[in-house]
């Protein structure tokens, strides 16, 4: 059942991605991208990554869409056509990157394999000790904020830096 659902969602993902790339009206492209984020959230929820699904739903489907719409307000709804000689360069780059990505998928650990390195290294320790050590049943929260506190600290700094950069670059009364 969940694999049928997953297959349907993945096909939907490809269709929405194609619409976002091909749409002549950028408003349509942005909305398709928002729907893409929402389908992605459904996929995360289907495979059990609920925290990631939550983040994808609020960021990918929500905040990003609104920020892109706001960017459309400042620019234009129509896309400018790509010069024709650049089309072939773009196609070649996309095919090369796509082939490289597909060729690496065989090196990934099988999904859900309990003996794979990502599942067997430090994950069992976090999963079994999180309640005893941090009184936090949601292991995602304890790993993010406690066991891997440095990562999250630097990520927060990155987010603030991005916000500060946009704030300074898009000031109202710049000459």
């Amino acid at each position: 059942m969940s694999e049928t659902l997953l297959a349907i969602l993945l096909v939907l993902l490809v269709v929405l991605g194609a619409i976002a790339v091909r749409a002549a009206d950028l408003l349509l492209a942005v909305i398709a991208l928002g729907a893409y984020g929402f389908v992605m959230a459904l996929i995360w929820a289907t495979i059990g990554a609920v925290d990631v699904a939550f983040t994808e739903a609020v960021v990918g489907a929500g905040a990003t869409t609104v920020l892109m719409l706001a960017a459309l307000l400042r620019t234009s709804r129509r896309r400018s056509p790509l010069p024709s000689r650049l089309r072939w360069v773009a196609l070649a780059v996309v095919i090369a990157v796509g082939m490289a990505l597909i060729s690496t998928t065989t090196a990934l650990a099988p999904w859900g394999d309990p003996t794979s390195p990502p599942a067997a290294h430090v994950s069992p320790r976090y999963l079994t000790r999180t309640v005893a050590e941090t009184a936090t049943p949601n292991a995602v929260t304890s790993v993010l904020a406690d066991y891997r506190g440095y990562d999250t600290l630097i990520e927060t700094v990155v987010i603030l830096t991005a916000g500060l950069g946009c704030w300074l670059l898009l000031q109202r009364d710049r000459p």
């Binding site: 929500g62 920020l67 400042r74 936090t136």
Partner: protein
């Protein structure tokens, strides 16, 4: 420039929705220990409520609630909360970001629980401020087509 929406249904609905959504953001923040959620998601939801306000009630309504420099300062304050939680771990005799050593009148395990809550609050502040500032800058008052 975003004008106030004409439909009274939209404006009334948003007025009712925003406080509830902000309450939900608080719930997501403090309930992240036991259920999906946490500081990042709570921050985005909190920031999104202000964007909703601007989209439905117009840019002026947002300006009445949000002062951009204060917003940036709040975001920096969020990172500061995170950093200070780490430093207070050192004050209590541990290493940087060792929440079990936080000088709190609770057991070390409970101190880690509260340490997570403190840093998640900092993350939520930083993320919410960033989302709001990004929207404020992109949807500026003047139309520059």
């Amino acid at each position: 420039m975003i004008e106030r929406h004409e439909s009274v249904i939209v404006t009334t609905f948003v007025r009712a929705l925003v406080p509830l959504a902000q309450l939900f953001a608080l719930y997501v923040l403090v309930h992240g220990h036991d259920s999906p959620g946490g500081g990042f998601q709570a921050g985005v939801i909190l920031g999104a409520t202000y964007i909703t306000l601007a989209l439905a009630l117009g840019r002026e309504a947002l300006d009445r609630h949000v002062n951009e420099p204060v917003c940036v300062a709040l975001g920096a304050g969020g990172v500061l909360i995170y950093l200070m939680t780490g430093v207070f771990g050192m004050v209590g005799g541990g290493t940087f970001l060792d929440y079990s050593a936080l000088p709190l009148p609770v057991s070390p395990v409970r101190a880690r629980y509260f340490g997570i809550l403190f840093v998640e609050t900092g993350v939520a502040l930083a993320v919410a401020a960033t989302v709001v500032v990004l929207f404020c800058r992109l949807a500026d008052r003047e139309d520059r087509r």
